[in-house]
Symmetry: C2
Subunit: 193 residues, 2 copies
């Protein structure tokens, strides 16, 4: 079988999209994150008032889902909160259980929440000049705990796949909330193992 | 089989080693690159005078060579030339033919030379804020064409493996030489397909 030649390419980091050029752009508004924030009543109130702010954007340069290839994506999480809970990404496990991911912080201040199938939780800071390794088996969610955009680059096996369902069902075991102007990590009272 | 838990971790970019902390440090001096520079006579003359400068250093955070894991490494190529040929890394194919690699430029100015088994050659610039994708099947060598250190981060499947032998035997099809203070890419007269 003759394999198609994939051409080398380069991207520039920075700017509003984190990388450029990119191939795919996604955006997630509050309405897309219904059920993810702990104060669900407040989310419904905002939406019923017509408030549907953009929470984050993803700019991807995907590769075919074939072993050995790496996909690139930048994520821009806007500053904001739902009540006392900082804006975050939905979070997902990889469908391919052995797939890891590398994050590189570009702008802003964030916390990566990680949780494995056994419910073990880890968290690490992300920001400019930080490289972070999410090992296989850990669901990962990124939380913007600063007052400006949080931007980071993710590099992952292109066949990793995304399992958003498990997290949508159980939630994360921890929440990142603002207390006296600072982020604190607390148990999620509605977490169901 | 219970898989060992690999802990999430983070590293800081920058400083003399490009990343810290790191696990493994390698250095390559002129004597390690015997046969790689096109002016072999000049290399032998330098070595016989006791000149054996450091050409590059690699700082690694490797993972077990298991599918889905990603290894990290920073490379520091010092500024310098052998005659008119800029300092470079040995260059290698991946043993696993489908393994790609992502580079992120941190400091300095460089050129990545890439070449596949069919002898097709590509080259791209690397430097701060550049992300570069080396697709599967391309041998890759990095050349420091600036007057200061060239530093970059590499992210690659931890089971990619390194095949230095093919390149040591044939050389790269192209050389990067200084002409009137600027880099030019020329055919390698001693390249053997």
């Amino acid at each position: 079988m003759v394999k198609p030649l994939i051409e080398p390419f380069s991207l520039v980091l920075g700017g509003s999209s984190g990388i450029k050029p990119y191939k795919v752009r996604l955006e997630r508004r509050l309405s897309d994150l219904r059920g993810f924030f702990h104060n669900r009543r407040l989310v419904e109130e905002k939406l019923s008032r017509g408030e549907n702010p953009k929470v984050y954007e993803v700019y991807e340069v995907p590769q075919e889902p074939v072993s050995g290839h790496l996909s690139l994506a930048s994520t821009v999480i806007f500053p904001g909160k739902v009540g006392d809970e900082y804006y975050f990404t939905k979070g997902h496990f990889h469908e391919k259980e052995d797939a890891s991911e590398v994050y590189i912080g570009l702008e802003g201040e964030g916390i990566i929440l990680m949780q494995n199938r056994e419910g073990e939780v880890r968290h690490l800071r992300i920001g400019p000049n930080v490289v972070l390794y999410v090992p296989p088996g850990f669901a990962h969610r990124t939380v913007n705990v600063g007052s400006s955009r949080l931007v980071f680059l993710a590099i992952y096996p292109s066949d990793a796949g995304h399992d958003y369902g498990s997290i949508a069902e159980t939630g994360f075991a921890k929440l990142v909330l603002e207390r006296e102007g600072r982020p604190v990590i607390v148990d999620n009272p509605s977490y169901s193992e």
